[in-house]
Assembly symmetry: C2
Homo-oligomer: 96 residues x 2
């Protein structure tokens, strides 16, 4: 969900996604490459992202872009997150 949310703002390549996530979360989500790259691959396999290779200043880059399905999934996950976090708040709040 977080990866999709980052890519909602516009296409980006893996390293940018990691940096954007770190920036947007004020450092809270500083995910290692071993987490993010496989996750991006899974999302592409599932049809939520597409990727295209390019060469920028000699370095190869793989740019990811949200698909229509990705937008739909993200919307669903956003509302799911709302329900989920609200439920957690309820459970945490009602204490002795």
């Amino acid at each position: 969900m977080l990866l999709l949310a980052v890519l909602e703002a516009g296409p980006a390549h893996g390293y940018e996604v990691i940096a954007a996530l770190r920036g947007r979360s004020a450092g809270e989500f500083d995910l290692p490459e071993g987490t993010v790259y496989p996750a991006l691959h899974r999302l592409e396999t599932d049809g939520e992202l597409t990727s295209s290779w390019s060469i920028e200043a000699g370095r190869r880059r793989r740019t990811y872009r949200l698909t229509a399905a990705g937008h739909t999934v993200l919307a669903a996950q956003r509302s799911e997150w709302g329900r989920f976090s609200h439920a957690v708040r309820s459970v945490l709040a009602v204490s002795a």
Copy 2:
């Protein structure tokens, strides 16, 4: 964290924990036994809970209780959840 939060309100046995979690979360967290029982065992192994057997109306029950360590861990997780959910909110909110 959710299990610890439920047990913060007072000792309870496994089935009660499941029911309490379902109730407090308005049905959102309806966890199967295969999730909850092993999790309670892990928490006990880790020293966050203690358990004691009893026989109530012919049925054997294992009652779980928060330890001092459990309270400490729960407090830490509560604030961790605060940081975490805030960060998620930030990432989800800053969209295109």
